[in-house]
Symmetry: C2
Subunit: 257 residues, 2 copies
């Protein structure tokens, strides 16, 4: 066994660091070393590993989260994607009118949109199942956030399950914004168990479903089908679409930005 045999100590420290980071946004290496009763070099090495995995960011003298409430996409490409996501989120944000009530699901693109709305001081009411979206929008004075109930999916910092779906059904909004984990000519599909049901629930309670997807999501298919293309669906993307997907969208009466 090369890897599965975990040294408890180390993994435990890593977990704790990540955990504390959710609450404190900056941990000092010297403090961590004191708390854990280890040398600063050890913590420094921990941080270096976590950083290599894209899970935290180093700061002089300490550690901080990659970005306030941002998912670690792990691989280095996430940086390029960051720009694309930002652009998509910018376009999606333009669809939001002051005073609107919207639904927003979980995912990095949704968080990016939340960030735009928050920075823009947009007065909106947001229904979401994402803790990160909630926290991001919470920093805006103008936004009010209503959080869905449900079972916590820690990896995604979001809630899912029947409670979430049932809750969403009690509302109706003009637009729902969701991220997609995969888009093919068959429609929108989702990889995270439970998310498809939430996305479908949001779709069912809005006049227009805005799907945000960057290039990396296009042409792929995941396990759970969210929806096929149809009227009332708007796809926001930054990339040119392959012929067959483009046609599938047109045939279904969907809109593309």
């Amino acid at each position: 066994m090369t890897e599965p045999t975990q040294r408890l100590r180390k993994a435990e420290r890593h977990e704790r660091i990540l955990m504390e980071l959710r609450l404190r946004s900056h941990l000092r290496i010297s403090d961590l070393a004191r708390d854990f009763g280890v040398a600063t070099e050890t913590i420094r090495r921990d941080v270096a590993e976590l950083e290599a995995g894209g899970r935290v960011a180093k700061a002089f003298g300490g550690v901080t989260p990659v970005a306030p409430g941002q998912r670690p996409d792990v691989d280095s490409r996430s940086r390029d994607r960051q720009k694309e996501r930002a652009e998509i989120a910018r376009q999606a944000a333009a669809l939001v009118q002051p005073g609107d009530t919207i639904m927003l699901d979980a995912g990095s693109t949704a968080q990016e949109l939340a960030r735009y709305l928050s920075l823009g001081g947009q007065p909106v009411t947001v229904l979401t199942n994402s803790l990160n979206v909630a926290i991001i929008l919470g920093s805006s004075e103008a936004a009010s956030v209503r959080l869905c109930p449900g079972d916590l999916l820690a990896r995604e910092a979001a809630v899912t399950g029947s409670e979430t779906v049932e809750f969403l059904r009690r509302f109706h909004v003009g637009r729902a914004f969701i991220g997609a984990s995969a888009i093919s000519r068959n429609g929108i599909t989702e990889a995270v168990p439970g998310f498809a049901a939430v996305k479908r629930a949001m779709m069912g309670q809005c006049a227009e479903l805005v799907v945000m997807a960057d290039q990396s999501k296009i042409g792929r298919t995941d396990t759970d089908l969210v929806t096929r293309f149809g009227p009332g669906l708007t796809l926001v993307t930054e990339a040119a679409l392959p012929q067959e997907i483009r046609r599938a969208l047109d045939d279904g009466g969907a809109r593309v930005l």
Copy 2:
């Protein structure tokens, strides 16, 4: 006019720092100085002012956003309290049996309890209205978390409102653990608007209400009454209680740890 006439430069820097912090979670003072074309001392002073206003937190070499749900306890005693809270949380955690389902409200002591349960790998199901508690317990494999719906109170990183209360009423648990913001002979009172209702709701749905309070909460009274002392109430505290509160507890049939 002594104050209203702001030097643009300064206010502008402050704004930009706050703005950037929403995206980056850590800004280095030396970088900011270079970007703004000012001396590091100037930025240092900016940061000091922002920190005094509770708008950011200093880090060695930089600035980070203040974590949501973190009261501006500001004064140095909060660190000592940390130890007391940990001790209280440890005692409260001892009440939790493997497999239990509990309710847990929002607040620093509740977070501390969550941390204990998480680190202990305790297999529990937790119902909570606190995002931080959810996130902390989310890092534990053994715990499962059910989050309440409701309106987000960003400062506390928690949800409140009728939706939260209504949701809680659908469950029943053996023990509910809540923090108290003030305890006097009149009972438990709460300062944060909306929290009292949530605490009451939790109280109504459990066999035993466990109230956690450190010394600083004792002898104070806040605006909203949560409950008077009665049977089925257990107070966990690290400090000796004043005579009159002690008697009020005994008279009501409450237990003290």
